[in-house]
Amino acid sequence: MYLLGHLLTEPVGVVHYMIVGAVLFTCGVVCMATKRNALGILMGIELVLNGANVNLIAFGSPYLRGAEATIGLDGQLMAMFVIVLAAAEAAVALAIALNFYNNFGSIDVDRANQLKG
Amino acid sequence: MAHLLNQIFDWFAAWLGGSVANDSVAGYVVAALIYLALLLNLVAVGALVFIWLERKVSGRIQDRLGPTRVGGKFGWLQTLADGIKLLTKEDLIPGDADKLLFRIAPYVGFCASLSAFIAIPFAGRDFPFVAQHLNVAVFFVLAVMGLEVFAVILAGYASASKWSLFGAMREAAQVVSYEVPMGLCVVVPVMLAGSMDLVHIGDKQQGWFTNWYLFHDPFTFIVFWVYFTCGTASVNRAPFDLAEAESELVAGFHTEYSGLRWSFFFMAEYGSMLAVSLLAAILFLGGWNGPIPVASLLGLTWHNGPLVGYLGNFLGMLNVLAKAFLLVTVMMWVRWTLPRLRIDQVMTTCLKYCTPIAAAMFVGAALWHMTLPDRVFAGLLQSPAANRLLAEPLPGDSIQLDLQTVEAATIARGGRP
């Protein structure tokens, strides 16, 4: 409450970014858990990765932390690699989804039960 | 700007017995509003002028007069009359449409087009005319302009019309593909200037027109034309206007739109045309530096005081706008001359021609830059440094791809020692 109450007057800190990151992360997880559409699940993954990215950026931001505490450029570089890998992951996941659609004529993941014993 | 405003506010406040801090939010908000008003004006008035110009240019190309009546001479108020007509038109939403997305799509497009202007400078040197001076301006502009594709996709999907969907699919495929060669082309001036800061890139081309990156070497000369082609394609202008190809897809993604919402798509299109042309002017055509450095010759530099420098900047702004307008006119000329390509030919043009050419030219320009630094067209022309009329170093010159300088620069910037 303290954090929220003074949000408009006090400078923001890493913690604020972490809360946003947590919200994005949770939304992503819930999205992954509830959606039946393969592409919906993919969107959940994107949200999770973004939640992580927000944290990385916050830790590396020179505006939010003191000169000793900030991890500097490493945060941004890691975020960058996450973005690039997310792009790769999306391409593969999309290809799998399309293949799934080709084979099953559906993108409802609940129907992907051929491996069931 | 914000600090300046805050100082003015402080001066007023002191008059009333109070004070305003230097980083008060008031200054930022007012500054943002001023920038927004100026840019909105540029895009909206630009669209008005461009639509009038398009009609005039097409008229002249087709042996007609174009508009002649509204507003007295030359029909210069024709677009305004059209705008009023659009305002009074019935606003139709198809019954099966996704109403929310259908309504929101034109504004998404317009916002994407407008936000590109945030990072585009209109004059440089010590007091750049730019809403937000970003050190990754080129990247930002390209990224934001890529967002416009969402408006088209959403409009195409939400219209619940097959023609719209075709238009949206074409646009998505086309824009995503053309971002690749366009990015490669943009990298060439970025590499030559050693910065992604548009202000810095523009300032680097100071001096006579031989300093423009267009004339830097044969590779950049070709890259400019590739960039212009890709730019035309990325803003959906003929001969690449497949998303709205009227003889095939009725009106493509905006088949179902009418009235004001439809006009927002048009404003977005003309806004993007201007943005792409401005980017071309800054990256390749010297930006605010005219073919003849009039401002420098007249002594309108920041050496001689801020007011004079400001005047020089103003001349520079007119300069860059004139270049962008010229490029926009060329786009219109092309549109009214050439037939439209087919979708597979558009993709072939991108993937088989533009991308390899851009990549080869990028390598060529890099080799040129390494082997013949500071040499323009094999030394036939004066080197940029000698050609530059100003003795002062450029504001961004200190960033070099050289370790020692980087070290010095990092320390000088106040970064971690």
Binding site: L7, L8, P11, V12, G13, V14, V15, Y17, M18, I19, A22, V23, L24, T26, C27, V30, T34, K35, E46, L47, N50, N53, V54, I57, Y63, L64, A67, G72, L73, Q76, A79, I83, V84, A86, A87, A90, L94, A95, I96, A97, L98, N99 | V25, Y28, D98, H133, L134, N135, V136, F139, A143, G146, F150, V176, E179, L401, V406, E407, T410, G415
Partner: protein, 195 residues
Amino acid sequence: MNWTSCLFLLCSLMAGGFAVAVVLSSNIVRMAFYLVLSLAATAGLFFLAGADFVGAMQLMIYVGGTLVLLVFGVMLTAQSQFVQMRTSSGELLTALILGGALLVVLVSTAINVPAWQPTSNPAVDSATPVITATPIGMALEGYRVDQLTQPDTALRRGMSGYLFPFIIVSVHLLVVLIGAAYLARAKRPVVERMR
């Protein structure tokens, strides 16, 4: 009032709000649209945190590339019965409860670490622009311009750069593109009419 805080509030509300909308919406195209807005707002947060380059990259690669791809996939498979796929409310409730618990854990952890509280003396004043593009480019080349004063000289020049991950990622991307192109291809019987 602090202007960065205002902008932060705006961007974070957009990012969080649209993320929630992604979860709650059952229309796949709308989900994609909300995701676009959420990620664009996240890019705004990056700009506010002084990561210009990553922010622009987020806009370009994530929003402009990955999500367009995603929407493309949505449209390829968007037959009416798949556009609206509702989750049963029981599942949704369970997921929301578990998600709420996760959120509480994460937020309480974040709040309780003193080092993450707002600091009064940041490394750089928030009004001063930081130049990130060149250092990031140098880091990918293997030079860390922000680590030049590293006491360990072995780590100073190049050794602490990201050249190797950069190459790995490049190769990885290439492999992924080829793999994705291969995966998406399908075989199906066609009946060709002969004349």
